[in-house]
């Protein structure tokens, strides 16, 4: 690295800047939009000089949307609450079910184990819309449509395979002999799982959980079809900003900023676990 010529260094910096601008600009622009009214957003040419307003955020938080056609009720805050509840609950259920399953698949080769694991993965192959039509019918028969329980159940299609396959890889990376050493020192199988396997795979489990959370948070189509207004997450709720009197860009931008915040905060918090998880492979033995 220290043998890099000044030209190389400049080019490298330039390339990095380009990449950062490419990825960060939309986020930056949305952030600016969230403090503007529709008029300044739609002004041509666009300008980054404007008098900022908090009206978008105020509208979201109070739930009263002022449009040219009058006042509209929007349920953004309850949508946000739904998103948080649905994502957290789904990931929690997936972790409770998926981590022991991943351990079993990693450690025990039983008849059909590969087939079962693959079947679980295959849930991710099917286009959601293909699954949705029969699901809608079943859910109506079972009385699960438009319930949190039903949604969390369907969200397992997203979270469970992800957690199962990522965590399984982490368990497989732990030498089985470390667990044997613990067991032969006088501990039960379950104690070994709790005291050795879980802590060693911890960073991997955190990473998988975070990823599953992001996927669940960003899900749109399951909730669109299976939930009505009071159970909807933000992804579906954002549709309310497309009103008869036009699209409320300012509120959409503010809604995006608000809805990105929890995942961003979680990702920043979990980052150190992710790094730890990646460096776990460097531990010998």
């Amino acid at each position: 690295m220290d043998t890099m010529s000044p030209l190389e260094r400049t080019l490298r910096g330039l390339a990095l800047t380009l990449v950062v601008v490419f990825f960060m600009f939309p986020i930056f622009w949305i952030f600016l939009m969230s403090f503007q009214t529709n008029e300044t957003i739609l002004a041509i040419p666009p300008s980054i000089v404007f008098s900022p307003t908090l009206s978008n955020y105020a509208a979201l938080i109070t739930g009263k949307l002022q449009t040219a056609a009058g006042t509209l009720d929007i349920a953004f805050m309850s949508n946000l609450g739904n998103s948080i509840f649905l994502s957290v609950a789904s990931v929690a259920v997936s972790l409770v079910l998926g981590v022991p399953a991943a351990y079993a698949f990693a450690r025990h080769k039983f008849r059909g184990s590969e087939d079962i694991a693959f079947t679980l993965l295959s849930f991710r192959f099917a286009p959601p819309l293909l699954v949705l039509l029969p699901l809608t019918q079943y859910f109506q028969w079972l009385g699960l449509s438009n319930t949190y329980l039903g949604l969390i159940w369907v969200y397992q299609l997203i979270c469970l395979p992800l957690i199962l396959w990522i965590v399984r890889g982490y368990f497989e990376d732990i030498s089985a002999d470390v667990e044997y050493a613990y067991r032969i020192a006088g501990h039960s199988w379950f104690a070994t799982f709790r005291k050795i396997a879980l802590p060693l795979a911890g960073p991997g489990i955190a990473a998988a959980g975070l990823l599953a959370f992001i996927f669940a948070w960003n899900n749109f189509v399951f909730a669109l079809v299976l939930a009505s207004a009071d159970k909807q997450p933000v992804t579906v709720g954002a549709l309310a900003f497309v009103t008869s009197s036009g699209i409320q860009y300012g509120q959409i931008a503010a809604a995006i900023v608000l809805s990105v915040t929890p995942t961003l905060a979680l990702a920043l918090y979990a980052q150190r676990y992710l790094v730890e998880g990646l460096s776990l492979g460097a531990v010998k033995g």
Binding site: S175, D177, V178, Y180, A181, Y182, R183, I184, A185, G186, H187, S188, W189, I196, P199, L200, A282, V283, K284, G285
Partner: protein
């Protein structure tokens, strides 16, 4: 039978379905007395590690019984067998220091902290790892990890200590030193140990008895001396011993006064009938084909011997290894002096009848060792 520490009876191990999967261990029978050190010796894939893991309880026994101190354990989980094990891959707990790793093995025994500290210090001194006790496994060398893992096994007061290739990663000097110390440690405490190794020096130095395994079958289970002097079959004969035993296929002819072996390339070894006992002679003459074996240390050069030609002559610093073209094969002989011989030079070779091992040409089973029947 209270002095039997381990009894393995008719044990089979299949990976995959019983009778159809890979047959890793075949009808194994073995008994280990209390206080004995046993070495399972064999090349990789011979079933020695599978056997060790079945004793520990990490592999299910497909058929047969394993008893520890008179108690059948083959269906018990490892936690209830009271055995200690050192793993080939070290398997230290990454989040714990070396000291904690070793002390950890004593947790279940509920000893006071002072006793634990003393024991850890003692074992660390024995294994020369006192200076790394405070460090984490990831920051010490492979050899140090291996010794820590060994310490974790030896510190326990178990019915049986299983040591899987316990010294494979150590430098030769340290290995020689620790072999002696570990043997002393085990003997002093009256522990029973089973050691898996592919290193015959280690097996010879440490073990009271060696179990030679090949292809999942126990070939011979005997003292190191017996295995060297009276190998039960051709495999044990050629596997144990360095450099390996010389072997030649031969046909036998015998009369009242003479015994003769016909080797390849028309080489004939003739002996007086009195060089062999009656019983040995009878057994040999019954067979069409035999295999002659002789250890390189027992081959002598003599002017009136059978002619061979020097192919390689190596001085190893303390002994000479001479490889000679002989009877369609290669014969290795070892001499303790530095021998000046040119490549291609003819030498007379004498195979003393008292050093000859004769094996059956078909089954490979030993027929005789020198004067005695196998």
């Amino acid at each position: 039978m209270t002095d039997t520490a381990l009894l393995i009876k008719d044990v089979d191990k299949f990976y995959g379905p019983v009778d159809y999967g890979v047959h890793a261990v075949k009808k194994l029978n073995m008994d280990v007395r209390k206080g004995e050190i046993i070495a399972l010796l064999g090349s990789s894939g011979c079933g020695k590690t599978s056997t060790l893991r079945m004793i520990a309880g990490f592999e299910a026994v497909s058929r047969g019984t394993i008893s520890l101190a008179g108690r059948p354990v083959q269906t018990l989980p490892p936690v209830r067998r009271n055995v200690a094990m050192a793993f080939e891959g070290y398997s230290l707990y990454p989040p714990l220091t070396v000291r904690e790793n070793i002390a950890f093995a004593l947790k279940a025994s509920k000893l006071s902290q002072a006793v634990v500290d003393e024991k850890v210090a003692g074992i660390a001194k024995l294994l020369e790892i006192e200076d790394v006790l405070g460090r984490y496994p990831s920051s010490i060398s492979g050899g140090q990890q291996q010794r820590a893992s060994l310490g974790r096994a030896l510190i326990r007061d178990a019915n049986l200590h299983l040591l899987d290739e316990p010294m494979g990663q150590l430098e030769p000097q340290l290995r020689a030193l620790l072999r002696g110390r570990i043997k002393h440690f085990i003997k002093e405490r009256g522990l029973t140990a089973i050691l898996v190794t592919h290193d015959q020096t280690e097996a010879n130095a440490l073990a009271d008895r060696i179990a030679v395994m090949e292809g999942g079958v126990l070939q011979q289970f005997d003292t190191p001396q017996k295995i060297k002097e009276r190998p039960a079959n051709l495999f044990t004969g050629t596997f144990v011993g360095e450099p390996p035993m010389n072997v030649f296929e031969a046909s036998v002819t015998g009369s009242e006064s003479k015994m003769a072996f016909g080797l390849k390339d028309g080489v004939r070894l003739e002996y007086a009938a009195s060089d062999f006992s009656h019983a040995v002679r009878d057994e040999l003459i019954k067979r069409q084909k035999v295999v002659l074996g002789i250890r390189p240390y027992s081959v002598r050069r003599s002017a009136d011997g059978v002619t061979g030609r020097v192919a390689v002559n190596q001085w190893l610093g303390d002994q000479t290894h001479i490889a000679a073209d002989f009877a369609g094969g290669t014969l290795v002989l070892v001499e303790h002096d530095r021998t000046e011989l040119d490549d291609g030079q003819p030498i007379g070779i004498h195979l003393d009848p008292s050093s000859l091992h004769v094996f059956d040409g078909d089954s490979g089973r030993a027929i005789s060792h020198g004067q005695e029947l196998a």
